[in-house]
C-alpha cells in the first residue's frame, strides 16, 4: 500500500470499539491508517465532528456503532443513523466526496467483520487519494458552516 | 509404505500453484473424509480423494500427478457439493489433472486418449463427431474391440452418422485451439 493516509474512526464503546478489540485479540491484520476515537455511543456523535474532521484535513472518517436494535442505550444508534445519513447526502453540497465518509454497524463479537470494514474502507480512501489540505484560517471559516446542520439535531 | 520426509519433500511452490489455479485454500481441509464418502469413483481410485487433499497439503507433487485418480474423476461435483468447508474439491482435482497433462503424465492412457480424441474431433469439425471420435480412440489405443457389441444396436437406429455435422466455419474453432496453444507456449 502507498503512503499512509489520515483516517479517523468514531466508535461506540460497547459494540464497535469492542469489535475492534476482538479483532485485535484474534490478530486480524488490518491497514495501519485508522486512528480510533472512543465514544460512549454512536448517538453521541455530532455530525459536526465528522465535518470538522474532514475539513480539518482527514482523508476519511469512519463511524461505527451497534447494530440497529442492539444499542447499549436502546436507541442511540437510531439517532446516529438519521443524522449521519443526512450528513452523507450533505457532503457533496459542500464539495466533499461522500466516499470519504462511511458509517457502519459492527458488534463486539464481530472481529472479522471489523477487519473487513477497516480494510475495505481504507482501500476506498486510498482509491480516492489524499485530500487537498485546507489552511487553518479557512478551517475556522468552514466550521461556521455548522449552522447549516442545525436541522439535523 | 514410504516415509514422507516432511522436512525435505514438501513442495510449497506446488501447493501455491494449485491454490492459484484453482482459487481454493487447501488449508481449509480438515480431513473429515466427506469427499471420499460420497465419491462414486472411489472404487477405481488408487488414492481416495480425501487422501489426495492430504497429500496436497503435504506438497507431495509426484504422488499426486502420477496417480490414476486424477484421470478417473468425472467431476460429478459430489465432493464439492458436500464439503463442509466449501472447498471446490472437484476444481482442485481438475487442476491436478491439468498439471499432470502439462508435465507429460498419462497414467490412465485410455482416458487421456479419449479426451484427446474428443478434442481433436472438435478442433477439426467444430462439433463432436461421435463416430469419428470412436475411430480416433481405437487408432490411439489399439482397442479394436471397443463397444463393437453396440454397433448392431445403434447403427440401425440412424443415430450414428458416418459423416460429421460440421459447423459452417470450422476454422473459427480451430483458431481457438491455435491461440490456446500459442498462449500455452508463452
Amino acid at each position: 500500500m502507498d503512503k499512509e493516509l489520515r483516517i479517523v474512526g468514531f466508535l461506540c464503546n460497547w459494540c464497535s470499539y469492542g469489535g475492534a478489540d476482538t479483532a485485535g485479540v484474534g490478530r486480524f491484520v488490518q491497514p495501519t491508517d485508522l486512528r480510533i476515537i472512543r465514544m460512549p455511543c454512536s448517538g453521541r456523535i455530532d455530525p459536526l465532528f465528522v465535518l470538522k474532521t474532514l475539513i480539518g484535513g482527514a482523508d476519511g472518517v469512519l463511524v461505527s456503532g451497534c447494530h440497529p436494535r442492539d444499542c447499549h442505550y436502546a436507541e442511540g444508534n437510531y439517532y446516529a443513523r438519521r443524522r449521519l445519513e443526512v450528513l452523507k447526502r450533505f457532503l457533496p453540497i459542500i464539495g466533499i466526496d461522500p466516499g470519504r465518509f462511511e458509517y457502519t454497524w459492527v458488534s463486539a463479537s464481530e472481529g472479522q467483520r471489523w477487519q473487513h470494514v477497516v480494510t475495505s474502507f481504507t482501500n476506498q480512501i486510498h482509491a480516492l487519494g489524499p485530500v487537498q489540505r485546507i489552511g487553518r484560517q479557512s478551517l475556522a471559516k468552514a466550521c461556521s458552516l455548522g449552522t447549516v446542520l442545525e436541522p439535523l439535531a | 509404505m514410504n516415509v514422507i520426509a516432511l522436512s525435505h519433500s514438501q513442495d510449497r511452490d506446488f501447493i501455491a500453484q494449485v491454490e492459484k489455479e484453482s482459487g481454493q485454500n487447501v488449508s481449509l481441509c480438515y480431513q473429515c473424509g466427506n469427499c471420499t464418502a460420497g465419491c462414486p469413483y472411489t472404487f477405481v481410485y488408487d488414492i481416495p480423494v480425501h487422501q489426495m487433499m492430504r497429500l496436497l497439503q503435504a506438497g507431495q507433487k509426484e504422488a499426486l500427478l502420477s496417480c490414476r485418480s486424477v484421470w478417473l474423476c468425472a467431476t460429478c461435483q459430489s465432493c464439492t457439493t458436500r464439503c463442509p468447508n466449501n472447498i471446490d474439491v472437484a476444481h482442485i482435482v481438475d487442476v491436478l489433472r491439468h498439471m499432470a497433462r502439462r508435465e507429460g503424465y498419462s497414467t490412465e492412457y485410455g482416458v487421456k486418449s479419449f479426451v484427446d480424441s474428443f478434442l481433436e474431433s472438435v478442433e477439426k469439425n467444430g462439433r463432436a463427431f461421435e463416430m469419428g471420435l470412436l475411430l480416433r480412440f481405437i487408432g490411439k489405443t489399439g482397442r479394436f474391440w471397443t463397444d463393437v457389441d453396440l454397433a448392431p444396436k445403434i447403427l440401425p437406429k440412424g443415430k450414428l452418422s458416418p459423416l460429421p455435422h460440421k459447423v459452417k466455419n470450422p476454422e473459427a474453432i480451430a483458431k481457438i485451439f491455435e491461440r490456446f496453444r500459442q498462449e500455452c507456449q508463452k
Binding site: - | 467431476t75 459430489s78 444396436k153 437406429k157 459447423v167 483458431k175
Partner: protein, 312 residues
C-alpha cells in the same frame, strides 16, 4: 402468459447423433408449450467434459463462443440447452468469466468477446419455471396413469448449487412434478443425483457398468417400470449399455430409459415416432401399451374404499 417465451437455443452435439430423440422431442414439446427456440447460428461444441479436464481457459473459450453468438440474437430472454453437460460448461464459463482477469484471458482466444449478459438455463428449468406443472397438467390429453418412473436427474443438473442455481441439489423435484402433472408416478429414487459413469463408457466401461448398474438396481427395487432422465449421456449409459451392464453384473434388467420430453410429448398427444420412441434401445412399447389396463385397475382400487364408506 402474456409475454411470448423466446429463447436462444443451444442443441449440443449429441443431439445430432446419439440423442437424436431427445433433440426431436425437445423441439416438439417446446413448440407445443409455446416456447420459441431460436437456434444459435453456427453453434459449435461447448467443449464438454474433455475440455475442462485439459484447461479451463480452453473450455471457457469453446463455450464462450456460443455465449457470444447467442448474445447477438434479439429478443431472447435466456440461453437454453437440453444437455446438462453443455449446461454445466456454459454456466461454469459464464460464472468464471465474471472475474475480469479470467474473462480477458478467455476473450483473447475468441474472435469476438463474451459480454456475459444472458442467463443460461436447462430446457428442464425453463419448462418447470416458465411453463410449470400447473400449466402443463390441463394440456395433457393422454395421461400416463399407472406408469412408475425413477426420476434421474444426473450428477450435474443441480450441482454444484452455487453455480447451477436450480432446484434442490440433494433431492431435486422439478422432473418429478412434471411427470406427476402428466399422470405418471415418480417413485422414491434416492440416487437422483448420483453419477452414472459419465463419459467413461468408452475408455473404462467397467466404471459405467458398476455405477449405472447400481442406478438400475435401485430403480427396480423401488418399483420403477422405467427411468426418466434429462441427460443424453446418462440415457445412453443406462439404455444402450443396459445389456453390457446385465452381463457384467449378472442382472436381467429390461428397463426402458425415457427422456422426460418424450413422455411430455406423448401426454400432449404426440405419436411415439414424433418423440422418437423407436430410437430407444430398450423398447418401451409393451410397457406403454399396458398403461390403459393399469390405469383401469388403479381406478378400480381407488373406488373400492369409497364404495365401502358409502355402505357403512
Amino acid at each position: 402468459m402474456s409475454q411470448k417465451l423466446r429463447y436462444a437455443y443451444y442443441p449440443g452435439c449429441s443431439g445430432q447423433g446419439t440423442s437424436k430423440e431427445y433433440e426431436q422431442s425437445t423441439r416438439a414439446v417446446c413448440e407445443a408449450l409455446g416456447m420459441e427456440l431460436v437456434d444459435i447460428p453456427d453453434w459449435s461444441c461447448c467443449g464438454s467434459s474433455p475440455a475442462h479436464t485439459v484447461d479451463h481457459r480452453l473450455s471457457s473459450a469453446l463455450s464462450g463462443r456460443n455465449l457470444a453468438l447467442a448474445e447477438r440474437l434479439e429478443g431472447v430472454s435466456a440461453i437454453l440447452t437440453p444437455c446438462p453437460s453443455c449446461l454445466t460448461n456454459l454456466k461454469v464459463s459464464a460464472h468464471k468469466m465474471k472475474d475480469p482477469e479470467f474473462a480477458a484471458e478467455v476473450n483473447a482466444l475468441l474472435d469476438f468477446p463474451v459480454r456475459n449478459t444472458l442467463p443460461v438455463k436447462s430446457i428442464l428449468q425453463a419448462i418447470y419455471e416458465d411453463v410449470g406443472p400447473d400449466a402443463l397438467r390441463p394440456k395433457a390429453v393422454r395421461l400416463l396413469t399407472g406408469l412408475k418412473l425413477a426420476p434421474y436427474y444426473g450428477c450435474i443438473m443441480n450441482r454444484p448449487p452455487h453455480i447451477m442455481e436450480f432446484d434442490d441439489h440433494e433431492n431435486p423435484i422439478a422432473m418429478d412434478q412434471l411427470m406427476e402433472a402428466i399422470g405418471a408416478e415418480a417413485v422414491t429414487f434416492p440416487l437422483k443425483v448420483e453419477c452414472c459413469g459419465a463419459s467413461f463408457g468408452v475408455a473404462r466401461r467397467d466404471i459405467v457398468q458398476k455405477l449405472s448398474g447400481k442406478l438400475l438396481d435401485t430403480a427396480a427395487s423401488n418399483g420403477a417400470d422405467a427411468v426418466v432422465t434429462a441427460c443424453p449421456l446418462c440415457q445412453m449409459n443406462l439404455d444402450l449399455r443396459q445389456d453390457q451392464i446385465n452381463v457384467a453384473n449378472n442382472t436381467s434388467h429390461n428397463m426402458p430409459v425415457f427422456y422426460y420430453t418424450q413422455l411430455i410429448g406423448l401426454a400432449l398427444g404426440m405419436t411415439p415416432s414424433q418423440v422418437g420412441l423407436e430410437k430407444l434401445e430398450v423398447s418401451p412399447m409393451a410397457l406403454l401399451e399396458s398403461l390403459p389396463a393399469r390405469a383401469e385397475a388403479q381406478a378400480q382400487a381407488a373406488k373400492k374404499p369409497a364404495s365401502k364408506g358409502a355402505q357403512s
